[in-house]
Amino acid sequence: MNEDADMRYLDSALRQEVGGEHAPDLSARIAAASARSISAGPVRRRITVNFGRRAPLGAPSKRRSPLAAVIAALLLLVAVGFVGFAINTNREPHPFRDLNEAKGQPQPAANATSPSNETPRSPQPAPVVVPHPTKVVPPAIEPEQPRPEQTPKPQPLPEGEVKKPDGKPAPIPEAPRNPEGIEVRKPEAGTGPTKKPEVEAPALAEVAVVKELSRKNALKARYAESESWRNVEAGEVLNQGVKLSASGHADLSLSRGGLLRFSGILSLSLDGALVADLGSEDLYVDNLDAPAMTVRGGGVSASVQGVAMFNVTRTSLGIACIQGEVVTAQGNLVAGKSGTLSLKGLSKVQAVNIETLVRKHASLRSLPQRVLMREDFDAIPDERIDEGSVSKGVGVSSENPAGVAFYLPKPISLRAGDVIRFRYRVSRALEEFLVQLGTADRGNFRKLLTPARIGEWVEVEVALCDLVRTLDRTEKIAPGTVFKTVQVWAHCPQACKLEVDWVEIVRRPVDG
């Protein structure tokens, strides 16, 4: 019996029993779709699943553009005109015909049999020129046609058997795709013989996820000027091209690593690097140990890799660099320096620290915390478990010493301000309790902790710069140390049970 599947089935049943969820009656909708499918004629029409109206922002719905129809009609006219012109041209007396005939070159049969070369033929398209509606897809982009062997057909199966039916619907049945995987939609019958199939635009790249909002409905988004603003909630994925408007402030986790906090208007796009266009108010960036990004505003731009605060006016960009470096065409700002960047250059360079920034910017009153790693033990792969086991979303060990240890998804380089937090519970009094980080080449670094109440969940936070080397406790961990495992150990007089609910490593801004 699969416990996860059982829990999922229970979840599904609870949605129905407690949440009142019921399957809708789709009979009318299916009948209507079926009627449309039948009326589409002899060409088998692919019924596309249209998620456009509910797709996440940036996943464009597949709509047939009216512009495409106009272009198709123009192409048809040009093609018809060209054919007519070509026919008429062939029918006019050729100045070199006699010469050609004298050379024995064959003449077009139409010309040879034409009763009168002087009579201009009306430029009506010949039947063979106008494509039939059933052949409107140009061969070059004709998607693979559904093959008989791909056709799913109900076949006799033992009662309740779930094996794929014969003539099984393949995982990608009948999906007309070109080699690049771009979906091509067939034109519907009656939409014009030269109408080109519309090619779906590739999905927009994900740039960030909304992490936290200062208050409800604090963030609105849209992808085009023609769209209306809509509320965005925490957890929503943002794609390139998004324009955001935050009242209060909003925290975004960047897909390439890093954290943004902003208030005002901000657009995110990709131009090799991530580009943040700050339209108004301010933007806090923490992309230490992540790819550099560009911040634009006030007619100027700067590249940042570190921790920095930006505030924009109509003609300038205020920059305060806390850690790392901000590079501009007019000069660079290192950690602890602030300045004003405009088309005239970088001016008013002076010292800055977090305290002054917090006083100046309301959005920094609660300092942004960048979660470098969080493990909830909900979906951790077995290969990342180093010690202990996972049961029901909790890391568990019942040995002596009891240890829960796991590999990080990717190594983390220690910076000042990094802390580890975790939530644990022990079943007995402990002799020793510690958290330990394993490095690739310098062994383990640990911090002894005081075990708290027995049998109760306890949350603990440890500054990583307090860790010392396990084999030499006089050696403190140094910034830049790269660690790859997290371990929590409980030493008991007898066997005891250690449970760890979650672990996270968080980076807080500190003066560089």
Binding site: N2, D4, A5, D6, R8, Y9, L10, S12, A13, L14, R15, Q16, E17, V18, G19, E21, A23, P24, D25, L26, S27, R29, I30, A31, A33, S34, S37, R44, I47, V49, N50, F51, R54, A59, T151, P152, K153, P154, P156, L157, E159, G160, E161, V162, K163, K164, P165, K168, P169, A170, P171, I172, P173, A175, A203, R423, W457, E459, D501, W502
Partner: protein, 167 residues
């Protein structure tokens, strides 16, 4: 004409179970609507033959599952595809004979055995779609406590249902 009547009957008989199956696999309700429709349209594209209800149901499930996988690939979302077989087996075990009615009956009974606090947490989560933080707030707990409470409640429900439901 007779074929159309048969199809209408097939839709009537199987649509709810198919929709619930898609929700169980992980579709949201809108996606379940779309994929249910697409699955029946695939059925319509092929000559109908008289099949038993179980056979048709199995065919529809397989087709719906493939449609779901295709939709996931299109949206580039990563899902543990290999676990779908386990999900399917669980579905068949619980739904094969009575569309899951016995399971839901057991669930109704088991819900009564939960503590008032746990039942309230479950109601908040499933009726009001409350977040863990909201549940914690309403019950006067911290979010981790709410997580633990919900996890325990579901564990209790699963164990209770297994006792009542499984032979």
């Amino acid at each position: 004409m007779g074929e159309e009547l048969d199809v209408a009957e097939l839709v009537r008989v199987h649509q709810a179970a198919l929709w619930r199956y898609l929700r169980f696999l992980g579709c949201d309700s809108a996606q379940a609507d779309d994929l249910t429709q697409e699955t029946f349209l695939k059925l319509l594209e092929h000559p109908l033959a008289q099949r038993s209800q179980g056979e048709t149901s199995a065919w529809l499930r397989t087709t719906a599952r493939n449609n779901y996988l295709m939709a996931l690939r299109k949206s580039a979302r990563i899902k543990p595809f290999e676990s779908l077989d386990a999900l399917d087996a669980t579905w068949v075990r619980n739904e094969a004979t009575d569309d899951g009615e016995a399971y839901r009956l057991a669930l109704r009974e088991c819900l009564k055995t939960l503590s008032q606090r746990a039942r309230r947490a479950i109601e908040l989560q499933y009726t009001d779609a409350a977040s863990r933080a909201d549940i914690a707030k309403q019950l006067g707990m911290d979010p981790e406590g709410a997580k633990t409470l919900l996890r325990r409640a579901r564990d209790l429900l699963r164990q209770c249902i297994e006792k009542r439901f499984l032979p």
